[in-house]
Structures are given as structure tokens and as C-alpha cells.
């Protein structure tokens, strides 16, 4: 990955039809949090979220990349099927094949929340997740 950024963060990646997220952080948990914040920005922009409730998430995967795909797809699933708008993300425990987290969210309120666009799914296209000298980095593309 070309970027070398301090601490934790995310940025969006250009793609002709879709959009990607590049996320990074000192710990694996930071990276998962940042990738989720990237997804949130795509879903609802900067709409404020009251975080009235939490949805517990527990996931298993064969490798860290697959875990990241599953994590973002879980947030999309909660948004689509339960109308829950994501606010913040608390990563309680994460390793290369398992994640335990809380999605702090609230029910969609049309007067306060703007839905920016549909995100169909997180994909495996050019998926990257790895530990580098300055921490964890990931790249993930979403199907819009």
C-alpha cells in the first residue's frame, strides 16, 4: 500500500462504477473501526446519529480479509433489514479470524438522516489487509 499515514483513519478510493475504502490504524481493531466509519460516510454522509441502542456483532472468517468483508456486510445488513443507522463502532475483540463488536446505532429518522446512496455489498475485489511497519492497512471495494 502506498500511503503512510499516522494514527488511524480512512479515505475513499476512486473506481469507475463503485467505490473503495482504504483504512489504517495502529491496531487491527482501529482498522476495523475506520473501515466501518468509511462505510458509514458512504451510507449517510455526515448525518448525526443519536446512538440510542447497540447491536452486538460476532463474526468468524477464514482470514482477516474475509473478516473485514463480513464486518462491513453486517453493517449493511443491519441498515437494510432493521433500518438501523450506524453511529459508532466499538471493537471489543478482534484477531485474524474472529470479531466481537458493538454497532451503536438508532432507527432511521428521515428528518435527521440523509441516505446518500445504496451500498449493495463489500467485495473481495483487490482486497488487501496486512500489517506493515506503521500498523495495519486495508483496501476494500464496495459494490454500489
Amino acid at each position: 500500500m502506498p500511503t503512510r499515514q499516522p494514527s488511524a483513519g480512512f479515505r475513499l478510493l476512486e473506481h469507475t462504477a463503485d467505490i473503495g475504502i482504504e483504512a489504517w490504524g495502529p491496531q487491527l481493531g482501529d482498522l476495523f473501526e475506520q473501515a466501518a466509519l468509511g462505510l458509514k460516510s458512504l451510507l449517510i454522509g455526515t448525518s448525526p446519529v443519536a446512538e440510542a441502542q447497540t447491536s452486538p456483532v460476532r463474526l468468524d472468517a477464514d482470514d482477516p480479509g474475509e473478516l473485514l468483508v463480513a464486518w462491513l456486510n453486517e453493517i449493511i445488513f443491519l441498515f437494510e433489514t432493521q433500518n438501523l443507522v450506524p453511529g459508532s463502532f466499538r471493537i471489543e475483540q478482534v484477531d485474524r479470524t474472529g470479531l466481537q463488536a458493538l454497532v451503536c446505532n438508532e432507527a432511521f429518522a428521515p428528518d435527521r438522516h440523509t441516505v446518500e446512496r445504496q451500498v449493495k455489498a463489500a467485495t473481495y475485489h483487490q482486497l488487501y489487509l496486512g500489517k506493515e511497519a506503521d500498523g495495519w492497512h486495508a483496501r476494500i471495494y464496495l459494490d454500489l
Binding site: 446518500e116 449493495k120 482486497l127 459494490d143
Partner: protein, 480 residues
């Protein structure tokens, strides 16, 4: 990565076989399109598809090709039944995303005074936007299973349409072999209240006017005349399909390791067609495809009802009938002649439309003398096309054609271009009413974000892969 390209003729470009490629790539495009394609990663994706086991013929790309995820959008790849693979990424998340075209007895000029009212009513009646659902229709578990098994036929049995509709749908609106038991609980949950909804992104419902007729005899056979009102519906299998794809991508990651298939991109994960993983995927995919056929059938019914109410016309006066309904994200078992031999192939079309010629047994009886209708939507500001499949398409592209305009601008670039413009007002000034649910959608879907679909269909026709019948102009567009 720079991809080598050899010009075959004005409209055909070869990606020669090199390295781990098992076959060559064949791209249909004009020189200008090729120049644009070399700026992105779509050609590399064609190359990647050519590395998959059991691929038959070249890895194909239609002129609306653009960078997708894994497979390119606008890609066609056929795989041998014995040695080939099936890849959920080669179908896409929106399984059986497709287009349906309805014709009417109305003339656009007569509709004009009520157009705004009609657009508003359709926007209200056909749920659109992210997570759109029908508050009046939540399927029971048993009903949803029937939808997956029967497709459009389920909707017709419930009173949403008639048998004649089914005669004018690819595969009569039901793919065989669907098994609801192979569709996850999670996918079923996503599908439960989304039947009859448009969704978001590039999906739309459009009222159109027949602008020009290019082939009078064929137009007559399709029931098209100049100035006529038509309706296009572009949507697919909604969250249910996305979930089936995601579920099976996980299965195929493991399958690719198990069967030792090396992948240039994880999204190309696949399994041998003879494996249980492939059989399960195809049965679940057929279920999702059937959901999509039922979805477009339900929306058709809602469109008919809304036209009747707003225009105060009877069904007999309106005669909103189905011209055709095509899938453009699908994998299908088909028989094709390859080097003089008949072979059973699994043809993946991702952002590509089947385009069978006159006389083909799968071309509907009503159109057997002219060929299968191919429906090519353009962007919301320009026009869409009705084409017909040809013998050349059957021989060269496993009976496939393009599916739309294809994007040229990234979403961010499109938004930048749209900044400072009131897109809805500008389109209204051109006589196109737009009603949209999502804020960003309109900016990301501006006409300039797409290739001019006229150039795309021109390449198809020049290459002999399709015949243009008519051009349709948007009058009102409902976007998700």
C-alpha cells in the same frame, strides 16, 4: 499493468494469450472507447477472466465494458460443463438485474398534460430508494419460497399479470432448478418485504416516447410506432440477490482452495461446475433470478394500476403489454456450436444481455421470425435502444450483446461535474421529469457519467452483433 491489445478490425480488439491466460480476450469497441478503457482496469479484468479453468472461446467484453469488481461489467465468459467453473462474481451481486419494456396504445403528445401527475404517482406507488420495501406486502416464509421456485409465474398466479406476460419474458420468467433450501435465512429475510420495489443506484422506472424507428418491419412485429408511450423497468433481485452472492463468495473462497484453482483476484473465486459447491450456487442463483423476475412482474402490475388510475383509462384502452424482459447479470446453461460441435456451456453474462437470433428455440414464438429483443437502456438524459439478436452474435459471442451505456466517470467525478447544477431542473428544461429518492443518486447518475449509448449500440450493429429497431426518449424517470 499495461494490457497488450491487437486491432482485429474497426470494432474488434484482441488481448493476446500470455502468461497464465488459458485463452485470449476479445473486446468490442471503437478506437475512442479503447483509448478510454486503457485508463482504467477493465482490460486487466478481461485478462483475469481468461485465466479461469475450462473457459471456452475468448473472454469477451462488450462495448459498454467498464471496471467492475472481479469480472468486468460488460463481460461474457462461457465454461465447459466438464472442465469449467462457475463464479458468483461473474454473475454479480444483483442476480438477474435486468430490463423489461412495456408498450402502450398511448401517444406521448396526449399523455403530456398528465405526465407530472403520473410521474408523481409512480414515484409514490413503486417503492424506490435504499432499503425500499412494500409496507403492504410482507411475504410469509412459504410464499417467499414459492417466489424463488416460480418467479414471474408466482406473481401471475397471485393476479399480478397474465400468461401473455410470461410468453414475453426470457425463460418465461422462471429459471429451472431453483432450490429455496440453498438460499440462506439471511437472504430470505432481506427479500421478505422488498418484492415489488425498485431499489437504488442505477435502477429506474422510466416513461418513454418512441423517438425513431430504424427497422419498420421489426418495429411492427414488436408493436412499436413513432410517438408511442413505452415504459422501461430496470431492477433486479434486491437484497436477496446480494446476500446469495455474498454467501456463495464465501463458499467459493474455500472451494477455490479445495480444488486448487489459482485466482488473480479473490472476487473471481469459483468452483468446478461438477462440484457440489457449483450445483448449490446455481440452484440458489436460480432462486434469486426468479425473485427478480417476480419483482419486475409486480412492478409491472403497479405501473398498470397507476396508469389506469391517473389516466382514467381501462386496461383495454391502455394495453400496457410486455414487449420483453431480459436478464443482464446471470449464468445459464446453454447449448452452443463450438468448432462445429454442439456443446453444453455455462455462459456467464455480467452486464451483458442474451441476444439470440431469429429461429432460435429460446426466442419467443412471437418474435421467432425477427430475433430476440435486446433492451439497452441509456442514461436518464439521452435515450435507450431496442435491438434484436443476430446469427453473428450466436456464432461469435455465445448469443450475447451489450446491456447499457457503461459508466465513464467515477461517482466522485460525476458529483464534481454536477456541483453548482440543479440536475433535476436542467433535465426538466429538456422535457424530462426526474423523481429520485436518494440525494447523491441524481448527481452520481448524471448523463455525463455514462458513455453515449448510441456509440455503444453502433459498435454492436457495426460488428454484426445486433440490429437496431428503435430509439426511445425518456419523458419521466423514477430513480431510487
Amino acid at each position: 499493468m499495461t494490457i497488450k491489445l491487437q486491432k482485429i478490425d474497426e470494432w474488434r480488439w484482441r488481448i493476446p494469450r500470455e502468461g497464465d491466460m488459458r485463452t485470449e480476450g476479445l473486446v468490442y469497441a471503437s478506437r475512442a472507447m479503447i483509448r478510454a478503457l486503457q485508463q482504467e482496469q477493465a482490460l486487466e479484468q478481461v485478462r483475469n477472466v481468461a485465466t479461469l479453468p475450462g473457459i471456452v472461446g475468448p473472454a469477451l467484453a462488450m462495448p459498454d465494458i467498464h471496471w467492475g469488481y472481479g469480472f468486468p461489467i460488460g463481460g461474457v465468459a462461457a465454461f465447459d460443463a466438464e472442465h469449467g467453473v462457475v463464479s458468483p462474481g461473474g454473475v454479480g451481486y444483483d442476480i438477474n438485474c435486468g430490463v423489461r419494456l412495456l408498450r402502450s396504445e398511448l401517444e406521448a403528445d396526449a399523455l403530456q398534460p398528465k405526465l407530472e401527475n403520473l410521474a408523481n404517482s409512480l414515484f409514490q406507488k413503486v417503492p424506490s430508494g435504499v432499503g425500499s420495501h412494500r409496507s403492504d406486502l410482507r411475504l410469509t416464509r412459504t410464499e417467499e419460497r414459492h417466489v424463488l421456485e416460480l418467479g414471474a409465474d408466482w406473481a401471475v398466479r397471485q393476479g399480478f399479470g397474465n400468461d401473455t406476460d410470461l410468453d414475453h419474458i426470457e425463460a418465461r420468467g422462471t429459471l429451472p432448478g431453483a432450490d429455496p433450501d440453498l438460499v440462506s435465512e439471511r437472504a430470505m429475510e432481506r427479500g421478505r418485504n422488498q418484492l415489488g420495489t425498485l431499489g437504488s443506484g442505477n435502477h429506474f422506472l422510466e416513461i418513454q416516447r418512441v423517438e425513431t424507428i430504424h427497422d419498420e418491419e421489426a418495429a411492427r412485429a414488436l408493436g412499436l410506432f413513432p410517438g408511442q408511450v413505452t415504459v422501461s423497468i430496470h431492477t433486479g433481485s434486491r437484497g436477496l440477490g446480494y446476500q446469495v452472492c455474498d454467501d456463495f463468495l464465501k463458499v467459493m473462497q474455500r472451494a477455490a482452495r479445495k480444488y486448487e484453482i489459482s485466482l488473480p483476484d479473490r472476487q473471481l473465486c469459483c468452483a468446478p461446475l461438477q462440484s457440489p459447491e457449483a450445483r448449490d450456487y446455481l440452484a440458489a442463483m436460480a432462486g434469486a433470478a426468479n425473485y427478480a423476475f417476480a419483482n419486475r412482474q409486480m412492478i409491472t402490475s403497479q405501473v398498470r394500476e397507476t396508469f389506469e388510475q391517473v389516466l382514467q383509462l381501462s386496461p383495454a384502452d391502455l394495453r400496457l403489454s410486455v414487449i420483453y424482459d431480459v436478464c443482464h447479470n446471470i449464468a445459464k446453461w446453454e447449448e452452443h456450436q463450438v468448432d462445429g460441435k454442439k456443446r453444453r456451456l455455462c455462459v456467464h453474462r455480467k452486464g451483458a444481455t442474451r441476444a439470440f437470433p431469429p429461429g432460435h428455440p429460446e426466442t419467443p414464438a412471437a418474435y421467432r421470425h425477427i430475433g430476440q429483443p435486446v433492451l439497452i437502456p441509456g442514461d436518464m438524459g439521452r435515450y435507450s435502444y431496442v435491438m434484436l439478436g443476430t446469427e453473428a452474435a450466436l456464432a461469435e459471442t455465445f448469443g450475447s450483446s451489450c446491456h447499457g451505456a457503461g459508466r465513464v466517470l467515477s461517482r466522485r467525478a460525476a458529483k464534481k461535474r454536477a456541483r453548482g447544477h440543479d440536475i433535476i431542473a436542467e433535465l426538466a428544461a429538456q422535457g424530462i421529469l426526474v423523481r429520485a429518492a436518494g440525494r447523491a443518486t441524481v448527481a452520481e447518475e448524471i448523463p455525463e457519467a455514462y458513455k453515449d449509448v448510441a456509440e455503444v449500440v453502433n459498435v454492436m450493429e457495426q460488428a454484426g452483433l445486433g440490429r437496431i429497431v428503435a430509439r426511445l426518449k425518456p419523458l419521466a424517470v423514477i430513480k431510487g
